[in-house]
């Protein structure tokens, strides 16, 4: 599973990364979590704002810190989390 955190590195972007990594750890799934900070790469996802979260190429959240339970539900839909 591939998860991308889109954001240039502000506190909310870092908080989102933290939440995502915690969710991945608690689910016990194998996932690559990558931060995307390049503005042009971020623009390629067509998002209105950051932070944004992309799971296996699908934009899941834009412009806000994701809740851990939401991240877990995304992982679950991808067949990666039972918790």
């Amino acid at each position: 599973m591939e998860i991308k955190i889109l954001g240039p590195g502000c506190p909310k972007c870092r908080q989102t990364e933290k939440v995502v990594k915690e969710a991945v750890a608690e689910c016990g799934v194998a996932a690559d979590v990558e931060k995307v900070t390049d503005v042009m790469k971020i623009a390629g996802y067509g998002v209105f704002g950051t932070p944004a979260v992309v799971v296996d190429g699908e934009v899941k959240s834009v412009g806000k810190i994701s809740r851990k339970e939401d991240v877990k539900s995304w992982l679950n839909k991808q067949g990666g989390c039972n918790g």
């Binding site: 954001g7 240039p8 590195g9 909310k12 067509g46 704002g49 834009v62 412009g63 806000k64």
Partner: protein, 144 residues
């Protein structure tokens, strides 16, 4: 696109029909000027209409979305309805007393009227416009 950190926070998203009439182009010009003035940020309605995932998710997660249609044809409205996004701040320019025509020459006074109407609509409190509690919006960024 995300030009600054946490740029989606509480920014007003402005969606204009940008149609090929005076009123359609008034919607576009008002959105452009309001973006330049910092009132909100214009976003790409075509991307939403094309159902590009990043665009669709962006409009679903935006706390305030102002939709501007030039006329009652309601093209922008139809696009939002197609992706099941409720219209909470919606303006039809012909309802403001501006007559639709195919003259693409825009009057300064009409642009200013539309901009004022957009600001009025954006401030409108809708009973059904309960804030999304999903996730945490707003920036609070101190590092930009």
């Amino acid at each position: 696109m995300a030009e600054t950190c946490c740029s989606g926070g509480n920014v007003v998203m402005i969606l204009a029909c940008s149609g090929c009439s005076n009123t359609g182009q008034l919607s576009n010009q008002a959105a452009v000027e309001l973006t330049r003035e910092g009132f909100g940020k214009m976003f790409c309605l075509a991307g939403i209409g094309g159902k590009l995932p990043g665009f669709v998710q962006s409009v679903k997660d935006a706390p305030i979305v102002v939709v501007i249609d030039g006329c009652p044809m309601g093209c922008a409205k139809a696009i939002l309805e197609d992706i099941h996004v409720p219209l909470k701040h919606y303006l039809v320019i012909t309802d403001e007393g501006i007559e639709k025509n195919k003259n693409l020459q825009l009057e300064r006074s009409d642009i200013d009227r539309v901009k004022a109407a957009v600001k009025r609509i954006a401030d409108k409190k809708e009973p059904s416009a309960a804030p999304e509690t999903k996730g945490v919006s707003g920036c609070g960024c101190t590092e930009c």
